[in-house]
Amino acid sequence: MSTDTPARPTAPSRRATTARRSAWLLGALAALAVLAVLSLGIGARTIAPGQVLHVLLHREPTAEDWIVVHHSRIPRTLLGITVGAALGVAGAMMQALTRNPLADPGLLGINGGAAAAVAAGTALFDLRTFHSFVWFALLGAAVAALVVQLLGGSAAATPARLALAGTAVTAVLTAFVNGLILLDPLTLNRFRYWQIGTFAGVDSAAVGQVLPFLLAGGLLALVLGRPLNALALGDDTGRALGAHPARTRALSLLAITLLCGAATAAVGPIAFVGLAVPHLARHLCGPDQRWIMLLSAALAPVLLLASDILGRLLLRPAELQVGVVTAFVGAPLFIALVRGRRIAQL
């Protein structure tokens, strides 16, 4: 991929580039702040932005607005932001790692692995609590990620081959999940709500449980920015620059698994955020992996929160789940990418 070769900026243009990147990052963060306030206010019970600020600043545990904001909307918004950032960063890493602009955790079987593990856990061990879901989803995501990566041929992977490996693994896992939910009606009933991807019904305890995984994955991703940049030049050049390709790949996979597995465990499988946002970030800030990850971490929550708010508005007072909204926003984007000449040449 020509876009993956780092730019060779001269001194003055480098300053201009940094200014442009910072501007985009600040813009994304500002949009995120606006959306967060909207997300606190919009829903079955609409609360005006002024009133949102009021209940944020003043403790009124008996007022209805205060209860709605603190017990439902704040956890939900926080989860939207953290999960969005996790999916964005994981997608960016996946695309860098595989040098593949089509890589996306959902497309590559990680979500399928998490789903299969959750279904198996529900059927065999009668999982109900969020805490137990997290461990199963993480394990499933790790195994699926490893298998797809191996099948794709690691270093020699091409976009089509990886997509194919993801499809194959997902097919086997889907058959497995189908078998489980058809044999056990209770599992079907729990699984069908989990598999759609929604923020509805989360509480602050759930956010607290998923946060450590996401933070660990995010920190690991930040550390890996520079080695991934070096690897973008190819294994040999990267090694000459002091990178350790094998170690970087293994650590990146670990970070992706932590981020995706925990995000999927928290809200269910959400497709396309991890695919679309890093593309946009790369388009805006150029090929430096560190900036792509930062900008993805800011832009993905924007997309996810906007989708969530849209889902709350479309069917008021009921909700359209965020997973459905993102698929309907993301799939057309994906198809447009595939139709573009660049992908077709790969």
Binding site: L182, N189, R192, Q195, A271, A331
Partner: protein
């Protein structure tokens, strides 16, 4: 020829096994007696009304899917060009779900919804992937994208359905031959009676098409006309199979490829693909009935696992060979 004969023999063996095995085992001689018109009434009922129509439906669905797969793969000049990959399957699921969950209606309506959904989705994928000629990879990737969107829609439909509806939808989505009777078998047989000869008649121009459009045209083939006819036949075959058994995954993908490997020839082998498709589905259904007996798995669970394993094997082979 040898492979064809072998497949036919295996097919007969699988058929005999399916008719005799079950919770109520019957010896082969008794089954033959019943097929000849004799036998006790209870045994007759089990064979003629339960096992035989189900077995025949399995054979016919398998044959239709195998043949459709061979057509699609040759037309797309791509071993992945099957109705599974270009979105027919997910589209038909969306159509069927719409009928089961939103409109309501009997099995015939569900089948109709599936056919309409599948046709519309395939057309969409084809049109979206078309940009100055259709490229194999782009077709596959557009299919993946549209399939993801529709899967999400399907998940949404299932989540908002009543529990009973969700359960019957889940069974339909997996692809199942449980409780299939003559009312499923007869229409499918009639469809194949028309479509199989039609496909075989176009076998010669199909082989020429595989050599490239220009070569085919210089040999006197009207390429565009032949191609449209073949696509229509392939889609009709898939639609008929889906209406009878739901979206049984992967038979259409595997059967033609496996026949190519077995016969070690390059060209499309339509009859062989149909035979192998029938054999694969008959064996899968036998396993689905007997593996967890008395619980019956939907056959789609088994073909999904077999198909995924085959894809995995295919990828690792390609990977070892320097691309």
């Amino acid at each position: 020829m040898l492979v064809g004969g072998l497949l036919l023999l295996l097919l007969l063996g699988a058929a005999a096994w399916t008719l005799t095995a079950g919770d109520y085992p019957l010896p082969v001689r008794e089954v033959l007696d019943i097929l000849g018109g004799g036998g006790r009434r209870a045994d007759r009922y089990i064979v003629m009304e339960v096992r035989l129509p189900r077995m025949l439906t399995a054979l016919l669905v398998g044959a239709a899917l195998g043949l459709a797969g061979a057509l699609f793969q040759t037309l797309a000049r791509n071993p992945l060009g099957s109705p599974d990959v270009i979105g027919f399957t997910v589209g038909s699921a969306t159509g069927a779900l719409t009928v089961i969950l939103l409109i309501g209606g009997g099995a015939a309506f569900v089948a109709g919804g599936a056919v309409v959904g599948g046709l519309v989705t395939s057309l969409l994928v084809y049109l979206l992937a078309r940009r100055g000629g259709t490229q194999g990879h782009r077709l596959v990737l557009v299919g993946i994208g549209l399939s993801s969107l529709l899967s999400s829609l399907n998940a949404y439909l299932i989540a908002r359905a009543s529990f009973g509806d969700a359960q019957s939808a889940a069974v339909w989505l997996t692809g199942s031959l449980n409780a299939r009777g003559w009312e499923h078998c007869t229409p499918l047989a009639l469809a194949l009676l028309v479509l199989l000869p039609a496909a075989l008649l176009l076998g010669r121009p199909l082989r020429m098409l595989e050599m490239g459009d220009e070569t085919a045209a210089s040999l006197g083939v009207r390429t565009e006309l032949v191609r449209i006819r073949l696509v229509l036949i392939g889609v009709a075959l898939t639609a008929a199979a889906t209406a009878a058994a739901g979206p049984v995954p992967f038979i259409a993908l595997i059967a033609p490829q496996a026949v190519r490997r077995l016969t070690r020839t390059a060209g499309p082998n339509l009859l062989g693909s149909a035979l192998l498709g029938a054999l694969l589905l008959a064996l899968s259904d036998l396993a689905a009935q007997r593996l967890l007996a008395p619980t019956q798995l939907p056959v789609g669970v088994l073909t999904g696992i077999i198909g995924g394993a085959y894809l995995v094997w295919l990828i690792t082979r390609q990977w070892r060979r320097p691309a």
